[in-house]
Structure formats: structure tokens, C-alpha cells
């Protein structure tokens, strides 16, 4: 299976331009016979949207931009980021990731953990998602995460419990921290790398992380997209800070082998976790 990663920089607030950029990357990936192409978080809109959020929102069922991407998904599976407004719940806007395949929406994940502290203000503008769900994509099961979702390990656990062999995290992670002299990139990139390695190994799943690059309002997005194998080995690392496009062959059979050798998935006990969490929530005191 060939996975294309578009470590790109969208135009802030211009869905019309960004869809063209997406289609160009898609065309390139199709030519190179990739099976799946992944774009970063909010790839259709840019990240620092603030009050632009409602203006760039799409309703997946009726959007003509979505229709173009659905058409493109007949040739290749797509994962990208969008601001989503749901027809049945108007006025709520989600930071969403869509997986399209064969002209259909296979799944839309709505970002659950919206960073809102320090430089981040996502919960001022977005509604929170409520679910982590693995879903079938042909011969594999995949799960979607958006940026900070990956840094909460409970998110990936839900995808493990749901049987995901591909954990796809799309990201618009800004770079912060410049005191590590040995690093080519920002210190903050290490958060995702550490989590990617650990989650891939202990979930026996591929972790595919696509981060964006470029600058918005003085903030540099860190790049450094990567793929870890189900054995926790780095099999692709894109450069920090600069735009890149890369196609990586991955072997879904490695998921089977890893799960056979280290049966974390077989031995997982979601009912125990469920019971423990249930008790925690029932007994939770006010703090």
C-alpha cells in the first residue's frame, strides 16, 4: 500500500484556492499510484482562522467543494482537514478530518481535544467532537486523530480497542522551543514523535502523522511529518519547516505480524477499562 503525505501550507481563509492545491497534490499522487493521500489539519482552510471559522465552513452533504473531492476519491483515498458545519446541527463548527474513499465519505472525525491555553484558542471558535471511532477502509481499519488528539493517549486507545491498524493523525502543530541545539527542528516536535513511536508500538498499528508547514501571523508550523510502523520503527520522516511531498510504501501485513508477536490487541480488555472509567465517573468528586 502506498501512502502519500502532503506536508503543505494552505492559504489562510481561502477554501477556493486550497481545493485547487489539494487537487494538484491528488493528481500527482494518483500518477505515482498512491492508494491514499493525507493532508494536514484544516488543510482546506488554514489554521489561525478566528472569526473566519463560520465563513469557511462546509456542509459535507451539499458542498460543491466536497463534491469535487468526493469525485477525486474514486481514484485515491483522501484524508484532509476542514471546518465542518453539520446540516442537522447548524451554527456549530467543528475542526474535522474527513476520510473519503470510492466517492463516499468513509468517516468524519471531529477534533475532541481543542487546545485552549497559551497561544491556542480553538475552543473559542470550534465545537468539540465527541467520539473516536475506527472504521473500515477496504482491507484495513483506520482511525483519525487531529493534532492534540494524538497527545492524549486515551484517544489512540479507543482506536486500538476499535481495531484500527492505521492511526492517521493530521496536524497544524506550531513549532515552539529553540534551546535544543542538537535538533533540526523545534523542541515541540518531539511531543508528536514520542507519542507516535509509543502508540505505534503498543497499538501494533501504523501511526501516520501529517503536519503542516508555513507561517501564519508569526507562528511557524513545524512540519516533520512521519510514519511509524506497527513495530514502532520510523519508516518515513519528512523535513522540519519546509514543504514536502512524499510517497511511502507501507505493508499492512506488518500489523498482523506485530499483533501475532506482541498480542496487546488480543489481550486488550475494553470491558475492564469501561468499568473502571464508569466507576471513576460515578465517583468523581467536584474537583
Amino acid at each position: 500500500m502506498k501512502v502519500a503525505i502532503a506536508q503543505m501550507s494552505p492559504v489562510l481563509g481561502r477554501v477556493d484556492k486550497n481545493v485547487e492545491i489539494h487537487l494538484e497534490f491528488i493528481e500527482k499522487a494518483v500518477k505515482e499510484k498512491a492508494d491514499l493521500i493525507i493532508f494536514p489539519e484544516l488543510s482546506l482552510t488554514g489554521y489561525s482562522l478566528k472569526d473566519l471559522v463560520p465563513e469557511v465552513a462546509l456542509r459535507p452533504e451539499t458542498s460543491s467543494i466536497m463534491a469535487r473531492l468526493l469525485k477525486a476519491s474514486k481514484d485515491i483515498d483522501l484524508v484532509f482537514g476542514l471546518v465542518e458545519e453539520r446540516t442537522e446541527n447548524p451554527g456549530l463548527f467543528y475542526n474535522s478530518a474527513a476520510y473519503l474513499t470510492g466517492g463516499e465519505i468513509a468517516h468524519i472525525h471531529r477534533k475532541v481535544f481543542l487546545p485552549t491555553s497559551g497561544m491556542f484558542e480553538e475552543a473559542r471558535f470550534f465545537a468539540r467532537g465527541h467520539d473516536f471511532m475506527a472504521f473500515p477502509t477496504g482491507s484495513n481499519r483506520a482511525g483519525l486523530l487531529i493534532c492534540r488528539d494524538l497527545l492524549h493517549y486515551s484517544s489512540s486507545y479507543c482506536l486500538l480497542a476499535g481495531g484500527a491498524g492505521l492511526i492517521i493523525a493530521i496536524s497544524a502543530a506550531p513549532g515552539r522551543g529553540i534551546t535544543d541545539e542538537g535538533s533540526q527542528g523545534f523542541e515541540s516536535s518531539q511531543n508528536w514523535e514520542l507519542m507516535g513511536k509509543a502508540i505505534s508500538y503498543f497499538s501494533s498499528a501504523y501511526v501516520i502523522y501529517c503536519n503542516r508547514v508555513g507561517l501564519e501571523d508569526g507562528v511557524t508550523f513545524a512540519g516533520g511529518s512521519f510514519i511509524y510502523t506497527p513495530d514502532g520503527e520510523l519508516c518515513l520522516k519528512l523535513p522540519y519547516l519546509e514543504a514536502a511531498f512524499s510517497i511511502q510504501e507501507i505493508d499492512p501485513d506488518l500489523i498482523r505480524k506485530a499483533r501475532k508477536n506482541r498480542p496487546y490487541k488480543r489481550d486488550d480488555r475494553p470491558e475492564v477499562i469501561w468499568r473502571s472509567l464508569g466507576r471513576l465517573l460515578r465517583e468523581k468528586d467536584e474537583d
Partner: protein, 270 residues
């Protein structure tokens, strides 16, 4: 778009008084042009802190706006505030004699920044807080000189559209001549804002109010019956002027960056 003038006056006079005190200033200083905004601002300032604590600077360039100068003097007389007139022609002419241009806007910007420079100098000399007079219309469409007339210590007027400033001016009994006068930035003789912008303030404010306060999209405003070309133009002006409304972006490098995630209130400890 009508405003509750007694309430607005109460809020803005409190604002001027409190913010000046918190910052440790004994007086307020205003550049008086004889136009509506600076006049209304001066009326508010006198209501807020009393005429002895308000100082006016009249900063003409040559005889570009003689009517403005005499109206500004009249305002100072009515309000009983101390005022000083400084002709900015020598320094402006000195600069442009070495770097000539026919571009009105370049000249106007330079004059606006010269006025700013004098206001800041007087602010330090008199320990006076500079009151800004940019209104909401100007801030939204970017009709002002960055680091020129847009520079100030505090801005009491920035959330009032031009037409609302006029309404407030009527309530405050600002001289009729000033209320009726064609707004001008004084960039060149006979210049008027409305000619330069290409829309009347009434049209402009109606469009802005729908886009900004009612949060309609440009398409929705057009569907509501406003002229498409004008609505698109105003929306584009708003977009292009964002840089004038913000501090310049700081390139983020560290974990805590001024302007990004080093976040303290303006009134910190005051």
C-alpha cells in the same frame, strides 16, 4: 444603528477618566483638527476630567485647512481648554525638499506622523494621555495612517461608526458647523473622505454594520439589497486593513512569546 447617547457618554467619560488615572497621567491631550471626531473626543474629555485637565494641539500644515484651524480654535474656546498651535510646515517641507514627490498620500502620511510625533512629545512634557480619535469606520476600512493618526494612548471612539459619532456630537451640542462639515483627513486642500473612499459614510456604515455587527456574509448583505460592487469593495478594504489594527506579528520561537502566549491584561496592577 442608533445609539443610546446618554449611556455611551457615561461609559466613554468613565473610560477616559479611569484609563488615564490608571496609567498615571494627570491630563489628556488631543490633536484638534476642527473635524467631528476630534471635537467629539474633546467634548467627552472635558466631561470626563474637566477643562483644566484637557490640552489641545492644533497642528496645521500651511493653509491646507484654514477652516479646520478656526473651528478647532472655536472648540477650544467653547470648552475652555488650553490650546497651542504648531505649524508643521517647516519640518515637512524640509523633508520633501530633499525627497520630492507629487503623491498626496505620501505627503499626507508624513504629516500625520509628524503630528503623532509632536503629540507624543507633548504627552511626555505635560504628562498627558493621548486620546485617539479613530472611529470604528476608519479602523475597519483602514482609513488612517498607521503610526500616524491611528497612534494614541487610549481610544474612546474606536467602537463608534462615523454616523454614530455624529449622533453623539449632536447630543453633546457640538457646533452645528462641525456636525455639517464634510469630513476630511486634511491630506490636501479640498480633500474629502467620502470622495476619496468613494462611498458616503451613511452607505459605508450601513454595509459595515451588516458585515461586522450583524455578522452577515458579503453574499447575505448583497441579498439584503445593498449594492454588490460596494459591498465587495468594503469587505475587501476590511480584509486588507487588518495589519493596521494589530501589533506587528512577532516571529514565534520560544515557549513563551510576546504577542502570542505571554498574555497579561492591559490594566495589569493598575
Amino acid at each position: 444603528m442608533k445609539i443610546n447617547c446618554p449611556l455611551v457618554t457615561r461609559v466613554l467619560t468613565n473610560f477616559i477618566r479611569e484609563e488615564s488615572q490608571k496609567a498615571g497621567f494627570e491630563r489628556n491631550i488631543i490633536g484638534l483638527s476642527g473635524g467631528l471626531d476630534s471635537t467629539v473626543c474633546a467634548y467627552l474629555a472635558v466631561k470626563a476630567v474637566g477643562s483644566p485637565s484637557v490640552f489641545g494641539l492644533i497642528l496645521p500644515y500651511k493653509d491646507y485647512d484654514q477652516e479646520g484651524v478656526s473651528l478647532a480654535e472655536e472648540v477650544a474656546r467653547i470648552l475652555g481648554i488650553e490650546v497651542e498651535t504648531i505649524d508643521i510646515s517647516p519640518q515637512i517641507d524640509a523633508y520633501f525638499s530633499g525627497h520630492p514627490t507629487d503623491n498626496h498620500v505620501l505627503k499626507g502620511n508624513k504629516m500625520a506622523r509628524e503630528r503623532m510625533s509632536i503629540l507624543y512629545d507633548y504627552s511626555a512634557r505635560l504628562k498627558a494621555m493621548i486620546l485617539g480619535t479613530s472611529n470604528k469606520t476608519e479602523l475597519l476600512i483602514g482609513y488612517g495612517t498607521i503610526h500616524g493618526d491611528m497612534a494614541c494612548g487610549i481610544n474612546p471612539m474606536g467602537d463608534l461608526y462615523k454616523t454614530q459619532v455624529r449622533e453623539l456630537g449632536q447630543y453633546l451640542n457640538v457646533p452645528e458647523k462641525i456636525l455639517r462639515r464634510k469630513p476630511t483627513a486634511g491630506l490636501w486642500p479640498d480633500q474629502t473622505d467620502e470622495d476619496e473612499i468613494g462611498l458616503s459614510y451613511e452607505e459605508l456604515d450601513r454595509i459595515l454594520f451588516k458585515l461586522v455587527d450583524e455578522r452577515l456574509t458579503a453574499d447575505e448583505v448583497i441579498r439584503a439589497g445593498l449594492e454588490e460592487k460596494k459591498v465587495r469593495r468594503v469587505a475587501e478594504l476590511i480584509r486588507k486593513a487588518e495589519y493596521k489594527r494589530k501589533m506587528p506579528p512577532v516571529a514565534k520561537l520560544s515557549e513563551r512569546t510576546v504577542g502570542h502566549d505571554f498574555l497579561y491584561p492591559y490594566d495589569w496592577g493598575k
